[in-house]
C-alpha cells in the first residue's frame, strides 16, 4: 500500500524537479520551440490518446476473441493461439511499426493499428488461459445448479478468469506507452518526437524532458491500471 502512495509522489517529485531544472536554463531558440507548455501538452495528449485508444480497442477485440477461442474447445485453435502468441512475443515492436508504415502509410492510424496488432495476442492468450484455468469442478457445480452455459460463462468463468484478463490488459497498456514512443519514427507524434529531435539536434534538455515525461506516464498508467484491477476484481477473490 505504501508503494501506491509513495510511487506517484516520487514520480510527481521527479517531474517537478526536472521542470525546475529546465526553468533555470537559458534556452536557445531550438529548445524554446519544444520546451514550452503548449508543445509539451500537445505531445503528451497525442501520446496518451494513442495509448488509451489502442488499449481500448485491444480490450474490445481480444477479450471476445479469447472467449470465442475458448468456447470452440478445439485443441487446434488453442495450439494455434499459443503458437501465434509466442511468435508475436518474439516480434520486435519497432519492426511491426516500421513494416506497416512501409507497406501502407505513415501517421497516426498506422501507429494505432500496429499497437493494436501488437497487444492483441498477449491479451487473447491471457483470456484463453484464464478461462481454461477455472476449476472443472466449479464449472460442473454451476451446471448442476441448473445454469445454462451462457450463465456459467458470465457468472462463473469470466469473474474467475478476470484477474488474469486484467493482468494481460495492464501489460498491454504499459507496453502501448513504450510502443507509442516509437510511433514518432512514422510521424505519429507523441513524446517520442521530443526524444528523437533532442537526439538529432543534440539538445540534452529536450531529450531529458521527453524521456522523463514518457517514463512518468508509463509508471503512472501502470499504477492506475493496478488500482482499477483491484476495484474491478470480484470481491470474493
Amino acid at each position: 500500500m505504501t508503494t501506491r502512495i509513495a510511487t506517484p509522489l516520487a514520480v510527481i517529485g521527479i517531474v517537478a524537479v526536472m521542470f525546475l531544472w529546465v526553468s533555470t536554463l537559458t534556452l536557445d531558440s531550438i529548445e524554446q520551440r519544444t520546451l514550452n507548455t503548449s508543445y509539451l501538452l500537445d505531445r503528451t495528449q497525442e501520446h496518451v490518446i494513442l495509448t488509451v485508444i489502442s488499449s481500448g480497442l485491444v480490450a474490445l477485440l481480444a477479450i471476445p476473441a479469447g472467449i470465442a477461442a475458448y468456447r470452440v474447445r478445439s485443441k487446434a485453435v488453442r495450439a494455434g493461439v499459443v503458437a501465434l502468441g509466442n511468435i508475436g512475443q518474439a516480434t520486435p515492436a519497432v519492426g511491426v511499426v516500421i513494416l506497416l508504415a512501409i507497406v501502407w502509410q505513415t501517421g497516426f492510424y498506422t501507429a494505432l493499428i500496429s499497437l493494436v496488432a501488437y497487444c492483441f495476442l498477449p491479451v487473447l492468450r491471457n483470456t484463453l488461459t484464464g478461462l481454461e484455468q477455472v476449476d472443472h469442478a466449479t464449472r460442473e457445480a454451476a451446471r448442476g445448479m441448473g445454469m445454462t452455459p451462457r450463465q456459467v460463462l458470465w457468472r462463473i468463468e469470466l469473474p474467475l478468469a478476470s484477474p488474469m484478463i486484467l493482468a494481460g490488459l495492464r501489460t498491454a497498456l504499459v507496453f502501448s506507452v513504450g510502443v507509442a514512443t516509437i510511433a514518432t519514427f512514422i510521424n505519429a507524434g507523441g513524446l517520442g518526437d521530443m526524444i528523437v529531435n533532442g537526439l538529432k539536434l543534440q539538445r540534452y534538455p529536450v531529450i531529458v524532458v521527453g524521456a522523463v515525461l514518457v517514463a512518468a506516464i508509463a509508471v503512472l498508467i501502470d499504477l492506475a491500471a493496478g488500482l482499477v484491477e483491484d476495484l474491478v476484481r470480484p470481491r470474493g477473490l
Partner: protein
C-alpha cells in the same frame, strides 16, 4: 525488377549473418551480466522483507520505462553503440531475474534447509550449495523471459547506433519509398523473430544442462 527478396538476400546474406551474430552477441553479453548482477541482488535480499520489497518494486517500476526513453537518456552520457545498448538491456533484464531468484530461493522447503543446517552447514554454505542449485531452474526461467525481452529491445537500440538487426529495420524506414525499403525492414524483423525463437529453444537445453544433475528430470 531489382527489388525482389531473392536478389536482395543473395546480395546481402553475409551482411545479414553478421548483424544476426552481433544481435546474438549483445543479447548474450547483457544476459550474462544481468544474471550475475540479478542473482547477486536476489541472494542479498531474498530473506529480508524491506530490501526485498524495495528491490522488487524498483525493478517493477524500472521495467515500465519505455526503452527509447532510457536509450535516449543514456546516450549523452555513454555515447553511441554498444555501451548504452548493453546498459539498457541489463537494466530491463534485472526484473525477471531478480524476481525469479527471490521466488526460487524462498520456495526451497524449510525442512531441506533445516537438514542442511543439521549437517553442520553454515547459512552461507546452505544458501550457495543447497538453495541456489534448487532454485536454479526457476532462475533460468527468469533469464529466459529476460532473453525474449532483450532481443526485441536490442532492435530499438539500433537507433543509438547499437549493434544488431535493428540496423536493417531502421534502414528500411530511412529508405522509405525505394525498392529495397520493404526488403530491409522485412529481413531485419524476420531475423529478429527467428533469433528470438531459436534462443527460446536453446533455453530448454541450457536449463537442462545447467541444472544440478540430481534435479534433472
Amino acid at each position: 525488377m531489382t527489388g525482389t527478396l531473392d536478389e536482395f538476400l543473395a546480395r546481402r546474406w553475409e551482411d545479414l549473418v553478421t548483424l544476426t551474430l552481433q544481435h546474438l552477441a549483445v543479447v548474450a553479453l547483457s544476459l550474462a551480466l544481468a544474471t550475475v548482477l540479478g542473482v547477486l541482488i536476489g541472494l542479498l535480499v531474498w530473506d529480508r522483507n524491506v530490501p526485498r520489497t524495495a528491490a522488487l518494486t524498483a525493478a517493477g517500476i524500472a521495467i515500465t520505462i519505455p526503452s527509447l526513453a532510457l536509450l535516449a537518456l543514456l546516450s549523452p552520457i555513454l555515447g553511441l553503440g554498444w555501451a548504452p545498448t548493453v546498459v539498457s538491456l541489463v537494466f530491463y533484464s534485472l526484473l525477471p531475474i531478480v524476481r525469479n531468484t527471490v521466488v526460487g530461493l524462498r520456495e526451497v522447503p524449510a525442512h531441506v534447509i533445516e537438514s542442511a543446517r543439521g549437517m553442520g552447514m553454515t547459512p552461507a554454505k546452505t544458501l550457495l550449495s543447497i538453495q541456489l542449485p534448487l532454485a536454479w531452474p526457476v532462475i533460468v526461467t527468469g533469464i529466459r523471459v529476460a532473453a525474449q525481452l532483450t532481443v526485441g529491445i536490442a532492435a530499438i537500440a539500433a537507433y543509438v547506433a547499437g549493434p544488431g538487426l535493428g540496423f536493417y529495420i531502421f534502414k528500411g524506414l530511412s529508405s522509405l519509398g525505394s525498392v529495397n525499403a520493404l526488403n530491409f525492414a522485412l529481413t531485419g524483423t524476420l531475423c529478429v523473430v527467428l533469433l528470438a525463437l531459436l534462443i527460446d529453444g536453446a533455453f530448454v537445453l541450457i536449463a537442462r544442462y545447467s541444472t544440478s544433475r540430481g534435479l534433472r528430470v
